[in-house]
Every structure is written in C-alpha cells, then in structure tokens.
C-alpha cells in the first residue's frame, strides 16, 4: 500500500522519457555553471591578489553581494524583474546567470583565501628570478593555493549542483520540474521520490569525498 503510493514502478516507466530529458537538462546546467563559476571565481581571485585597494574593494563588494543574495531571489529577479528594465533573458540563460553569479562568489572567496595563505617567500622566489607578478601567481602561487582548497571547492560544487533545482521556478524543465510535471500526469508522488533518490545516489559519493577532504586538511 505504502509502496504503491510512493514508489509505483509503472509511474516511472510511464514518465521515463520526460524524466530523462529533465535529468539531461540538469546535467547540462551543471556542466555550464560549474566550469563558468570556477573560471570566473578564479579570475576574480587573481584580480584581487594582483590589484590595488580599489580592485580589492570591488572584489569584496561582488563577493558579499552575491553571497548574501539567496540564489532563488537572484534568479527570480533576473527572470521576472530584469524584463522591466528591458533586459529579457530566457529561462536557461537566467538560470545560468543567477547560479554563475552565486557560485563564482563562493569560488572566488575560496580561491582568494587559498592564495593569501601561500607564504610570501613563494612570491619573493618568483619575483627574484625575474618572473612578473602575473607569472608568479599563475605558475607558483595558484597551483599551490588550489591544491590546498580542493575540499571547499568541491563542497561548493556540490551546493551549486543541488541549487540547479531552484530553476524549476522559472519553468525550466530540469530534473525537479519534470518530476513535478510527471507527478501531475500520474497523480502519484513516485516521480518526486525517484528524483530525490537519483540525487541522493549520485551526490552521496561527492558529499563523502568533500567530508574526507575537509577532514584530511584539518589533520594536516
């Protein structure tokens, strides 16, 4: 009785193509947002480390702003608010923009913290051998910094991946949204349960890895 309601296998079989499309769209979102977020975050951290007080202030403003705004509020604003300013973005573009702004602010802060933790002697060695500041940070400081913050970077990637489910509110047919549609077709919560299980099974190993990395760093 319980199983019939919450996990009716026929409901999955019936709505499978729809759910697969949703799943693939979520994968696509993650595949765009995560690399873009990491790239933008890293660039911002480099600008912070190489720039003067003005760029540092700009960095702090960016990071604080987009870490304070809930991603859902940001997304709703971009999708429903910006059209009033004459900027009309589709649901996919809005989702990508909102989550890249949000994700990059966290990545930027993580990479920045990694960079400033590298001993000054590393900069000295690079500059004393004729490297530019840019070469020093790219070849010497950043590789070490990133290595030291792999745990937090993966943690943020996990958060960002989960956050793609908010895109259902702008009618983007990602995994959760297709599950809601499927549910309305079969009058049964099974598709939702199924989506939750898929998220759990796919992300659990990543969550475990994050925990292990963070513990590894703590004991280092």
């Amino acid at each position: 009785m319980f199983l019939e309601n919450f996990f009716d296998i026929n409901a999955i079989i019936y709505t499978y193509p729809l759910l697969l499309d949703g799943f693939l769209l979520t994968v696509k979102l993650v595949a765009v947002i995560v690399p873009a977020g990491i790239a933008l975050g890293t660039i911002l951290a480099l600008i912070y480390a190489l720039g003067g007080w003005f760029t540092k202030a700009g960095f702090i403003l960016y990071v604080d702003t987009f870490r304070s705004l809930p991603p859902l509020v940001l997304l709703v604003f971009i999708f429903y608010g910006l059209p009033f300013l004459g900027i009309q973005l589709g649901s996919f573009a809005s989702a990508v923009l909102a989550l890249v702004l949000n994700g990059s602010s966290y990545y930027a802060e993580i990479v920045r913290a990694g960079i400033v933790a590298i001993p000054k002697g590393q900069w000295d060695a690079g500059r004393a051998t004729g490297l530019t500041r840019f070469q020093t940070i790219v070849y010497i400081v950043l590789p070490q910094a990133v290595r030291n913050v792999v745990g937090p970077l993966l943690g943020n990637t996990l958060e960002l991946t989960k956050a793609t489910s908010i895109c259902s509110v702008v009618a983007l047919p990602e995994f959760l949204r297709t599950a809601q549609i499927a549910q309305s077709h079969v009058y049964n919560p099974t598709p939702l349960v199924f989506v939750a299980l898929v998220y759990l099974i796919l992300l659990w190993p990543l969550a475990r890895l994050v925990s292990r990395l963070e513990r590894g760093i703590a004991t280092h």
Binding site: Q122, D124, A125, G126, T129, G130, Q144
Partner: protein, 247 residues
C-alpha cells in the same frame, strides 16, 4: 683586483612606516669579491639585501648593477633581477614542482629558453651542487641542505652577476650546514661576486674578502676578516663577536 664595481649602493634608506630600518648605507662590491654582512637580529641585513633587487622598495638612495640603475623609476626590473641571484633563509622552493622544474621555471619564463635547453641547463646546475640524482624529487623529499642547494642552483641557473645569500644555513640542522657552505666555497673559487649574510663566523673569516658590520640600519665597521676578527674597533662589533663566538 680590477676596480669594476658590480654593485654600487649609495645612501640607501628604507623606512617601514615611521621606523627607519636602513639609515643611509653605502657599499661598493667589486667583481669577484665576497662580502659578508654581519649584524644582530633586526639590524636591517635582510631588508638591505631585499632592497638590492627591489623585493623591498627603497625609500631613497641609489643602487647600480654594472653601471645600470636598479633604483631608477624606469629600470627594467625583470632584466635586472635575472642578474641578481637570491638565496633565502627558508629556501622558498616551489613545493608543487620537482627540483628540476624549480630551476626550469625561470629559465623558460624569464629567459625564454626552450623546454629542452632549460632542462639541460637545470640538470647541469643540479650536478654542480651535487644533486644530479635528485632532479625528479619534490622539495618535501629532500633534506634541508639539499633543498637549499637546489635553491642555489635555481638562482645560479640564470647566470647572475652577483649572488645574495640571506642566512642560507640558519634554518639547517648543524650537520647539514657544511654541504651548503661547500657549494658557496666552490662559487668563491669560481670568482662569483657574492654578498652573504651569515652567523657562521668561522666561514665568514675563511671565505670573506671583506666583512661589513651592520647595526641599527648603519654600517658601523668594515674591513678584511683578519682585522675585524682580531682587532674590532667598534664596540658593537666587539659585543657581537663576543656573543657569537661565546667568548
């Protein structure tokens, strides 16, 4: 000795905030000369060395390297720094790179050498400091003495006009000091121009052509090692020698 100064430093001043750390230092270093800089902690020795390649920005004064101004506002710092080798107390090797790559990085980026030429040069330098077989070791796999020798090789690979050593053996266990000093002796035999900050007084006495005694940002005494060690004039020098020789 020919009188072709490699380094000419005049009236060098450096302040951190309101604290004047270098109070008008003058120093001329001839080609092939080995100058040892002594002084108690906080006297400004590191700051002085770091001003020479402008890792620290001097407040005023002038520095020339082979006649080229280091302190001019339009000085080509990258070019000048390649000619000034620097060795740090804490080695400052790049921990994520092998010994070989620690050396090739600047050869490739600063000198624009090809990968092959850089690796050949780096292997040659490692052999010179007795670490040919450690080319592919990471710094964490090397002893302190070995790390410092890699750091020396890294600086030497750029074929500098002068080498600056800032307490190269202070971070080493006593039994490893010798291997690093041995490399510096070898450089001396090859007439490398060097400015060395060290507390190894025995080594200073044996290897220096001239000793400079620094106190509170000023040179208080200088002269050949024999004179300075046997007949120090300035009270601070006497005090310093007494402290470090334990007599």
């Amino acid at each position: 000795m020919t009188s072709a100064p490699v380094l000419q430093i005049s009236d060098l001043r450096k302040s951190f905030g309101s604290e004047e750390v270098l109070k008008g230092v003058n120093l001329t270093v001839q080609r092939g000369e080995v100058v040892v800089l002594l002084g108690s902690s906080g006297s400004g020795k590191s700051t002085f060395l770091r001003c020479i390649n402008r890792l620290e920005e001097p407040t005023s004064g002038s520095i020339t390297l082979n006649g080229n101004s280091v302190t001019a506002s339009n000085a080509n710092l990258r070019t000048l720094r390649k000619q000034i080798g620097m060795v740090f107390q804490s080695f400052n090797l790049y921990p994520h790179l092998t010994a070989l790559k620690n050396i090739t990085l600047a050869l490739r980026l600063s000198l624009g050498q090809t990968r092959q030429a850089a690796e050949e040069q780096a292997k040659h330098m490692l052999a010179q400091v007795g670490l040919a077989e450690k080319a592919h070791a990471h710094p964490s796999e090397l002893s302190g003495g070995q790390q410092q020798r890699v750091a020396i090789a890294r600086a030497l690979a750029l074929e500098p006009q002068v080498m600056l050593f800032d307490e190269p053996t202070s971070a080493l266990d006593p039994e490893l000091v010798g291997s690093v000093l041995e490399v510096i002796r070898l450089l001396r035999q090859r007439h490398m121009t060097m400015v060395i900050v060290t507390h190894e007084l025995g080594f200073a006495r044996e290897a220096a052509d001239r000793i400079i005694m620094m106190d509170k940002g000023e040179i208080v005494e200088e002269g050949p090692p024999e004179q300075l060690f046997t007949a120090p004039k300035h009270p601070r020098t006497r005090e310093f020698l007494k402290h470090f020789t334990g007599r």
